[in-house]
Point group: D2
Chain length 344, copies 4
């Protein structure tokens, strides 16, 4: 490709330190299916970073798989998921949760974030008429969200309190967890986040990994059957070591957060440049996805040099675009983009 | 691990040329979900190697996932799979096919291979009493098989003829396809194998890849909905490029077959050394898994220096063990093992 | 029960003519699983009544089962259903459709009826991003609806046109089809309704039958695998004759519509009595379910003599109640109810 | 039909007392979904007859549905069923159990009965390699079996002991429980059978009921979510009263067993007549299905006057046929059949 791409945060391969780690570990003979020394050490690093010494940690090749395996493992057939209609499981996973047999009870939000009140309300609506209604049992949220916003500690604490009161599991899709936790607006420490949820998936693919994600169950009891679920869904691999090597590296010397920080920095520069140029945004995103509103005419010109998604139409003359930065986004390209924009 | 392992063919990382290819391709910005230049070129290389210019090619992270996605995509809810009870989908995939809703109609064989007659017989048994019986619609075989044997061209042709006569799909699980096609006993060329089946999965994980497998549908019409199935099962990844880079390399300069050839050579040396030492085998395996029968006492001693699976008990004093060689098995270790064996 | 019940239309057993028909047919020896003479004749009567000589007709024990069997038989795993969030499959079937693996794409309406525009809009929203989104393939509507309203011929024609344009199946849940087609406001003849949909379920349970429903596929090609689906879901019974006897009787001498007409007449009398007493309604229902808004105080008093559901709260002092009439509702009870109401 | 049918035990309608009970109860207004007075009383009668005052009792329209609902409600996704390959769930339910996601681990027997040893052996085979193998969790047996044999108390006690030792549920498919318990060879009392299993389905359809079956969970804790499962599978009906009326009658004055006794008596007479005429049998069946071996020539002649299934070929000249008697089989027809047979 000759155009520079702001389409997503998984356009490039992987951070060189990950490549190096793969090379260094290459000749070691290891057991399969997550029993290798690298997965074991990676899990240890994750437990330490997130301050949950007893957590159960698993590695998996992709996010949709993480979502469906976690959710299917925690629910009985007639139990359902509470989520926003903008949630990844609702919109962009081809019905993966329903394919496992579960209904998603969805509700709407303009800022990508569900509230404790919305959860309570859906829960209450399903208590009237057993056994004719599904029974909500798990709340799915994303942090950062699908439109780049992030949860505050207070919001998350309220949500988790509501979940616990109603015996609902809280599961955080952290495909972009790094960006959320490194955001300037974030007030949740890595050592705190598992205090406010039951299961967390830590995204590797979108944070500079080669491939793969980590799943953390705070309470290992919840995960005791999880390997069976993984295997049955085709998600337990002979070469889990590939994930182990990456996540060991991610959580050895802060690499995971360094990469996220870079992506956020680039997004912020892009953002303020666009703001300076006089444009507004769909949402106030403090993470690595930003959603400026631009005239269609200018969008067309930018598309000659850059790749990005047109998110949605605003009116006849303007549209929202999505720009995503990553660990690999060079500052020069950000500056160049803003310069182009201002020249228009 | 300090012991040398003959436990499986996915103990090590990946062949250095694959690592190199990952490094070289690393900074290229690519589209996600299989739309990248590497997957496109890899598919092209596969079409050429297997002489099917119109084949539809997909990449996926593991074998169980390949099996369940292919099978679930080809069957209606009431249709079933014909397979041996020793087949990987029957024994070691935690009911992945049934979890997709499909019955496996299994039968038994002592040499790991199903016959055309067995297929016909199962098919016939299910025609009497519609709609009270599942309807067989796909035949699953492995080549090489779970006990190291391989199909001859004649056997495969008969099976496929039976399948076509009865409108059954034939799907080959080629987790160890390389070893099968490079076996001294093999008479099927890569350019021929898709003449005798409808769908083929080409194993990467067990043939020196870092991670991942390729799926080939001879008739692209059969695959037109396949991306939806992949996505719904969590098997379509943002970074399919990782698979693309590997399979492009595998099928650029014969690397795939070179690696398989090495594994087979090592297995053959092991085999003849063990035979010379006076021991017999569970099956006559011409591929990279061999199953010698040894006294338990000797097995115990070997286990002090080597890692391998005890496959099954023969009698009070003897057991079958499984030894697996790979692209990475050094000849020195093979010689050492035989020497140890003879010294006992 | 000593109170008279307006809770639903399946409180009593069955119309005496059905009981009589069961008795008369009792000693005849018949084949099982729908191959009996009664089912065959019943299907014939239905084809004639609904003017579709080639339709495929099946009988089944309940409505949820009808819905799930029809829908699961028509969709591929990644295909979805378009329905209102007030639809029975969304609200009161414990996720039966999702348990078959399918997502429901729901939207909202205040009058219980979906519009062609809503269907088109949901369809369009799912065309952008294959294969990441489910693909809508079937529209589910109820007639009469869950709040007693009915579709006009024009509305239904528009919906079906939209379905056909987008290759969507249209399926009508006719749990209360009799009441819809016998409504004073209805302009769709029985001989016309299958011109405007692909599959129709004709409710027996709620229209005076002992137990059971009929499913009609206009195009028998669509139904060719349906018996396998029925059997797999536990819905094909050895004694389908029980359904055959009932539906033969229903559609022999207009019994089905006579019973519905009575229920509607009783509802209308109730309705106008309540209106005369000065009360208003949640919806303008021309069928056998009506939803008056009454003061809580009066509701409490009525509940001492009558059984009915409190549907929803209106404000601190008033609530909506649901009153359902049936083939068995005596006019005397209707008059008595109105008298009680007026006396308060 | 002009020929008399020995094809099955559900050829006729229902016993006159059941018809009468339906008529008598017809005008009573009742709640739906199993909350009616008849279901409540029927459950009470069943608890008493089977001497389990705390048992949870449910009613359902058919046997395949009973099997799939019970099994799906008791298993986690990766858990499997142990059953014979001749079991109804294996052979004649179109993969209903697999459609719920569960593997059946089957084994073979010549007399239709599984042994405690077979169960232990399958269980043991699945403990080696978690999480790669399904985990057996429930044993399915039929009594009487698919070929008319019955379990002795000793056999059943051994099976249940093996189940309890290995934490397996034992589920008895009693589609023909009446015939089993009324067999001359039976030594299990109705008050004892639930001592030897966890869940029991009591067949109504094949024992003179109009339609429907009863499911009994010995331990009500096991059944606490069962109504949700029933509803989700389409098995919880608005008019459960229809089942309630029947089973109340069945278990009021021994009717259930009287009907079974008659069927058994007729089978015995048939059996001894056939034996006297010099023919042998596939199995020694002491229940209402018998499997004589007759010359094809004679079979052809008998088929001119009687309806029955040809079960399987024995050799070129002889076949096994299945003759089934029921509560409705007149002794005159039995005598006539034997006479015809002897005249040949």
């Amino acid at each position: 490709m000759t155009k520079f791409s702001f389409k997503n945060d998984y356009s490039e391969g992987t951070h060189p330190r990950i490549l190096e780690a793969l090379k260094e570990s290459n000749s070691s003979q290891e057991d399969g299916y997550g029993e290798d020394a690298f997965c074991i050490e990676a899990a240890q690093n994750i437990r330490k970073t997130f301050d949950k010494p007893n957590a159960a940690v698993f590695f998996i090749s992709g996010g949709t798989q993480a979502n469906l395996c976690v959710i299917a493992s925690l629910l009985k057939p007639f139990e359902s998921v509470i989520a926003l209609d903008s949630g990844h499981i609702c919109l962009h996973e081809t019905g993966a949760i329903e394919a496992c047999g579960h209904r998603i009870n969805s509700t709407h939000s303009t800022n990508g974030k569900i509230t404790a009140q919305q959860i309570q309300s859906i829960f209450d609506d399903h208590q009237n008429d057993p056994p004719h209604m599904v029974q909500p049992k798990l709340v799915y949220i994303s942090n950062s969200t699908e439109i780049g916003t992030i949860y505050t500690k207070k919001e998350l604490a309220e949500i988790y309190e509501t979940c616990q009161k109603n015996k609902l599991f809280l599961y955080i899709d952290g495909a972009r967890l790094g960006s959320a936790l490194c955001s300037k607006k974030n007030d949740i420490k890595p050592t705190e986040i598992l205090n406010y949820c039951d299961v967390l998936y830590i995204g590797g693919t979108k944070n500079g990994g080669l491939i793969g994600e980590a799943i953390v169950f705070k309470n290992p009891e919840l995960a005791k059957d999880f390997p069976f679920h993984l295997k049955q869904r085709g998600a337990l691999l002979g070469k889990e070591r590939v994930f182990g090597v990456q996540f060991r590296e991610f959580f050895r010397n802060n690499l995971y957060f360094d990469l996220a920080q870079h992506a956020n920095n680039m997004a912020e520069k892009l953002s303020s440049g666009i703001k300076n140029a006089g444009y507004s945004f769909l949402s106030e995103s403090p993470s690595n996805q930003i959603f400026p509103i631009l005239p269609n005419e200018i969008i067309d010109k930018l598309l000659q040099k850059y790749d990005f998604y047109i998110w949605t139409k605003v009116d006849e003359k303007n549209s929202v675009i999505r720009l995503v930065t990553s660990w690999a986004t060079p500052e020069s390209k950000v500056k160049e983009f803003i310069k182009e924009l201002k020249n228009r």
